[in-house]
Symmetry: C2
Subunit: 147 residues, 2 copies
């Protein structure tokens, strides 16, 4: 519905918004990750994309994964590192990160501050693949709540 939802940082400094729920990053035990939350800021009925906000506590990290869908990321808060394929890139507030199809990637917060970022993805997207021993091929399409 048309309107303004106010930004309201929590007492801890973590980012939050009116009417936006703070969710688990993904199911516990489904993949390796640490100290990360997810908030869906926009999922407009007429748009085929979602804008999510992820927040990683100091020293935390997202899952190392790859998938056919792309990520379009804008760092909203803090500092950290993004691994893209075999390279680690420092990232800071308002930097833009693009992740192409099937490129391994992982976001890590700095040891001394949080890392918060917007991530734009298609609503319909394939399930992430994890590194490790050979396994059954992942489905090529579907919907998944992971980053």
């Amino acid at each position: 519905m048309s309107g303004v939802r106010r930004f309201a940082a929590q007492a801890t400094g973590d980012f939050g918004w009116a009417e936006v729920e703070r969710l688990r990053y993904k199911e516990e035990g489904s993949a390796p990750f640490r100290d990360i939350t997810r908030q869906v800021l926009f999922a407009q009925p007429d748009q085929a994309c979602e804008l999510r906000y992820f927040e990683i506590a100091p020293g935390g990290y997202s899952t190392l994964e790859r998938h056919r869908h792309t990520h379009a990321v804008l760092i909203l808060r803090g500092r950290g590192t993004v691994r893209i394929a075999d390279e680690a890139h420092p990232i800071a507030q308002f930097d833009l990160v693009t992740i192409d199809p099937l490129v391994w990637h992982q976001f890590t917060a700095a040891d001394d501050c949080d890392l918060g970022f917007l991530c734009l993805v298609s609503k319909t997207r394939d399930r992430p693949q994890l590194p490790g021993p050979p396994e059954a091929p992942a489905p090529s399409s579907g919907h998944d709540e992971a980053a």
Copy 2:
């Protein structure tokens, strides 16, 4: 292509990014507006949406308009006002603004600071309608560079 494009504020304080061009908001004379620029941050081939960044100088404003496609807006910098239908709402950094189909809207920067905001839209969208004397109905679909 996968990678990081660095945030690099200009000497004036205006927001900018490596490899991102600062564009005109829309064609001069096509509609009323003042002191506003447009930068396309992401238009991923596999995503049906674009993420753009608009920056309005102090006292400037976007066109008062409406259209069938929706806007999903996150304020990235500064303060101002958004008019939604007949109501004016103050807006500040990191607030979220939703504009529903066919709702009149206009963004205005405060007199003493810039207003910068991300705007997420579908790549395929209808042309904005302007207020004024009755005119021929706007096309119901197509692509337009306007906000």
